[in-house]
C-alpha cells in the first residue's frame, strides 16, 4: 500500500458537501508578460515591467485543464486573477478553453504587492466567485517564482492546502491527490473545500477551440478594485508589503564547458565526469 497521508500541519476545517455530482472549481491564474518577448526590470521598483500585453501563464494552463477535466459537464470553472490595467487577454484564453467566468482584480493601488498581499487579495476575490468546492493554482508562476501564494491563500481562507498535485480525483466530499515528491508520489486524502497547487506539465492543456474563442467574448468577467473587495489601499501594494526587494543582481554567467578532443578514449573521460557528479 502506498503511504496515505491526510493533509495535516495546515489549518483546515471539515465541510460536508455530500456526494459531489456538481462541482465548482476556482482556478487562480496569473497573466504575465510574454516570456517570448525579452522582459525588463524596472530599475526603481526592481520588479518586472508589466505595462505591455500580458498572456496566460503557461504554468496556470495545467490548473485550468485539470479543473475542466474535474468538472466535466457537470460543474463550472471560475477564474480568479489579479493583473494591472484591467488586463483580460490571458483570461480570455482560459475562458476559451472552457472556463465559465472570471473575477479580475485590477487596481493601481496593488502595484508592488508582495506574495502575502496577493494571497489576501485573491482570497477575497475567490469569495466573489460563488460557491466553490476546490481552489486550484500553479505551484509557482513563471515570472515571479515565489511559489508561496497557493499555501498563503489556503491559510487566509482557513482551508487545507495540498501542494505539487500531479493528479486529483474527487471522492464524495473529499479528494485524493497524488502529490509529487522527489522519490515518487504521496497519496493524500483531503476534505473539500481545499486549495491545491498543481505541478506544471502533469496534464496536456487543451487548445482553445474556435467555438470556445467565440463564446469567450460573452463570458462574464467581474472586474473589481480593492474597495469592492473591502480592502484598504494602505494594506496592499507598496504600502502594505511586508517584503522588500533590496537588490537585484545579474545571475552569474555560467562557466564555459570543458571541450574534450576525442582521441578514441574520450568516453572514459565522460564516464569519469559523470561518476564524479555521482549521476552514474
Amino acid at each position: 500500500m502506498p503511504s496515505t497521508v491526510v493533509a495535516g500541519s495546515f489549518c483546515y476545517r471539515r465541510v460536508t458537501v455530500g456526494k459531489l455530482s456538481y462541482m465548482n472549481v476556482v482556478v487562480c491564474v496569473k497573466q504575465i508578460p510574454d516570456p517570448a518577448d525579452p522582459g525588463a526590470l524596472d530599475p526603481t521598483t526592481k520588479t518586472l515591467k508589466r505595462d505591455g500585453k500580458l498572456i496566460l501563464d503557461e504554468s496556470d494552463s495545467y490548473g485550468v485543464e485539470m479543473a475542466l477535466q474535474l468538472v466535466g459537464d457537470s460543474g463550472e470553472v471560475t477564474l480568479v486573477s489579479m493583473a494591472p490595467n484591467g488586463e483580460v487577454s490571458g483570461l480570455r484564453t482560459a475562458l476559451a478553453m472552457g472556463a465559465a467566468k472570471a473575477v479580475l482584480v485590477s487596481d493601481d493601488a496593488l502595484k508592488g504587492s508582495d506574495s502575502l498581499t496577493t494571497a489576501k487579495v485573491l482570497a477575497k476575490a475567490i469569495g466573489r466567485a460563488g460557491d466553490y468546492d476546490l481552489v486550484l493554482a500553479a505551484t509557482e508562476s513563471s515570472d515571479g517564482y515565489t511559489g508561496t501564494v497557493p499555501e498563503q491563500i489556503a491559510e487566509v481562507l482557513g482551508l487545507p492546502s495540498v501542494t505539487f498535485a500531479k493528479s486529483i480525483t474527487v471522492d464524495g466530499s473529499s479528494i485524493k491527490v497524488d502529490r509529487q515528491t522527489e522519490a515518487g508520489y504521496d497519496e493524500v486524502t483531503c476534505p473539500l473545500p481545499a486549495v491545491v497547487s498543481v505541478t506544471a506539465g502533469v496534464v496536456e492543456p487543451r487548445y482553445p477551440s474556435f467555438k470556445g474563442i467565440m463564446a469567450a467574448k460573452s463570458k462574464p468577467v467581474d472586474q473589481v478594485g480593492i474597495a469592492d473587495l473591502g480592502l484598504d489601499a494602505g494594506a496592499v501594494g507598496w504600502a502594505g508589503a511586508g517584503q522588500e526587494i533590496v537588490e537585484v543582481v545579474a545571475a552569474e554567467a555560467r562557466e564555459a564547458g570543458e571541450v574534450i578532443e576525442d582521441d578514441g578514449e574520450a568516453y572514459n573521460r565522460i564516464v569519469t565526469f559523470l561518476s564524479d557528479l555521482k549521476v552514474i
Binding site: 482553445p208 474556435f210 467565440m214
Partner: protein, 401 residues
C-alpha cells in the same frame, strides 16, 4: 499630428507590427493555430511529404480545434470572422500548404456549397460530421480536358423520369478524393432537360456504386496532401442529391472565391516560414569568418523578403476586413491571390538560395514550401487566369477566349 520621436526598434518577425491590427479574438485564433501547427504539423510534415501522404487522423484534430468550416454559422461550425479564417489558413500554411489545402477543401469547397446551396437534409446529414472531421469532403470540378475553362466540363448528370440522377465522367486533380466520404461533384445536365444543360452540383457519398477515386502518384509538389482522380460510371443518385439552390457556374465559382480568399492568406504563411528560416539560418551560418547575414547581398535578400511577406500579409488583412464588411469584390480576391502566391514563390526561392545545400533537403522547410507553392500557383485559378480576371476588371474587355 504626433511629434513623438519615432521608435528605433522593430520586431524582425513582425516588422510592420501587423499584430496591432488584430483583435484579441483574432490573436487568440492565430496563436492557437500557430501552437497547434508547432505541436502537430511541423514535427511530422517532412515525413508526410517524403512518404506522399496526409494522415487521416489529422482531420479530427482539425475538427476538434474548430478549423473545419470555421467561418460558417451553425451545424457545429464556429462562425468566426473571415479574417480569423484567413489567419488560420496563414498559420496552417506556415506549416505546410498540404495542411492548409485540406482545410480549404473541407471548409470552403466541400462544406461551403452544402451550407450555401444545400437542402436542410443535406446540411443536417453532412455539415456537423464534416465540421468535426469525422467525415471528409472533396470538390470535383477540374477534369482531364477541362481546367482553367471549367465550363467546358464533360461530366454529365442525366435525370431519370422518377427524378433520380445518373452521373458519368472523370474528375482530375481532386484534393482528398481518395480519403473522402462525400464528394461535391459538378456536372452538366441534359441540354434538353429542365435546366437547359446548366451545371448543377451533386452531393455524392463516395461509397455509391460506380464511384471510385484512384490516387494520383508521382507528384513532386504538395506531397503532404492526397490528390486523386474521381471516376463516375453510371453513379445512381436519389433526386435529393442535387444541390437545390444553385444552377450554373455561379455554384462552383462562388466556392472557389471562398477558398481563394484563404489561399491569399495562406501563401503569406508559406512565405513567412521561408523568410524566418532564412533569417535564422543566415545569422548562424558562418562563412568567410562571419555569419552570412553580415553580407550586404544577404541583407538585401532578407530585407526584400521581409517587406514582401509582411506587405502581402497587410494586403491579406485589408481584404479580410473588406470581406467581413461585405464589400469585397471578386477581382480583389484575384489581386490578392495573384500577388501573394507569386510573392511567396519568389521569397521561397531566395530563402532556398540562402540555405545553400541545406536549402534542398527536407530537414529544413524551405524547399518543401518552394515546391508546394507551384501547386498553389496553379490551383484555384492559375496566375494567368487571375491576371485575366483583373485585366478584365480594369479594361472592361474579357480576354479569356
Amino acid at each position: 499630428m504626433s511629434h513623438q520621436p519615432l521608435r528605433q526598434a522593430i520586431d524582425p518577425l513582425d516588422p510592420l507590427h501587423l499584430d496591432g491590427l488584430l483583435s484579441e479574438e483574432e490573436l487568440l485564433v492565430r496563436d492557437t493555430v500557430r501552437r497547434f501547427v508547432g505541436d502537430r504539423v511541423l514535427p511530422d510534415v517532412g515525413e508526410w511529404f517524403d512518404q506522399g501522404t496526409f494522415p487521416r487522423e489529422m482531420a479530427q484534430a482539425f475538427g476538434d480545434l474548430g478549423l473545419l468550416g470555421m467561418h460558417l454559422e451553425g451545424y457545429g461550425c464556429a462562425g468566426t470572422s473571415a479574417t480569423a479564417y484567413g489567419l488560420a489558413c496563414l498559420e496552417l500554411e506556415a506549416g505546410d500548404s498540404g495542411a492548409r489545402s485540406f482545410v480549404s477543401v473541407q471548409g470552403s469547397l466541400a462544406m461551403f456549397p452544402i451550407w450555401a446551396f444545400g437542402s436542410e437534409e443535406q446540411k443536417q446529414e453532412w455539415l456537423p460530421r464534416m465540421a468535426a472531421g469525422t467525415a471528409i469532403g472533396c470538390f470535383g470540378l477540374t477534369e482531364p480536358d477541362s481546367g482553367s475553362d471549367p465550363s467546358s466540363m464533360r461530366t454529365t448528370a442525366r435525370q431519370l423520369p422518377n427524378g433520380d440522377w445518373v452521373l458519368n465522367g472523370t474528375k482530375m486533380w481532386i484534393t482528398n478524393g481518395s480519403i473522402a466520404d462525400v464528394a461535391v461533384v459538378w456536372a452538366v445536365t441534359d441540354p434538353e432537360g429542365p435546366d437547359n444543360g446548366a451545371v448543377r452540383g451533386f452531393v455524392v457519398p463516395t461509397d455509391t456504386p460506380g464511384f471510385s477515386a484512384p490516387v494520383i502518384h508521382k507528384k513532386v509538389s504538395l506531397r503532404a496532401s492526397i490528390t486523386s482522380e474521381l471516376v463516375l460510371q453510371e453513379v445512381h443518385l436519389p433526386a435529393g442529391a442535387v444541390l437545390p439552390n444553385v444552377t450554373g457556374m455561379r455554384g462552383p465559382l462562388s466556392c472557389l472565391n471562398e477558398a481563394r480568399f484563404g489561399i491569399l492568406f495562406g501563401a503569406c504563411g508559406a512565405a513567412r516560414a521561408c523568410y524566418e528560416s532564412a533569417l535564422s539560418y543566415s545569422l548562424e551560418r558562418v562563412q568567410f569568418g562571419k555569419p552570412i547575414a553580415s553580407f550586404q547581398l544577404t541583407q538585401k535578400k532578407l530585407t526584400e523578403m521581409a517587406i514582401a511577406v509582411h506587405t502581402g500579409t497587410l494586403l491579406s488583412m485589408h481584404l479580410g476586413r473588406m470581406k467581413d464588411a461585405g464589400t469585397l469584390a471578386t477581382p480583389q480576391v484575384s489581386i490578392g491571390k495573384l500577388n501573394n502566391v507569386a510573392m511567396a514563390l519568389r521569397v521561397a526561392r531566395e530563402a532556398r538560395a540562402i540555405l545553400g545545400a541545406n536549402g534542398i533537403t527536407l530537414e529544413y522547410p524551405v524547399v518543401r514550401h518552394m515546391v508546394n507553392l507551384e501547386s498553389v500557383y496553379t490551383y484555384e485559378g492559375t496566375n494567368e487566369i487571375h491576371t485575366l480576371i483583373v485585366g478584365n476588371a480594369l479594361t472592361g474587355i474579357p480576354a479569356f477566349g
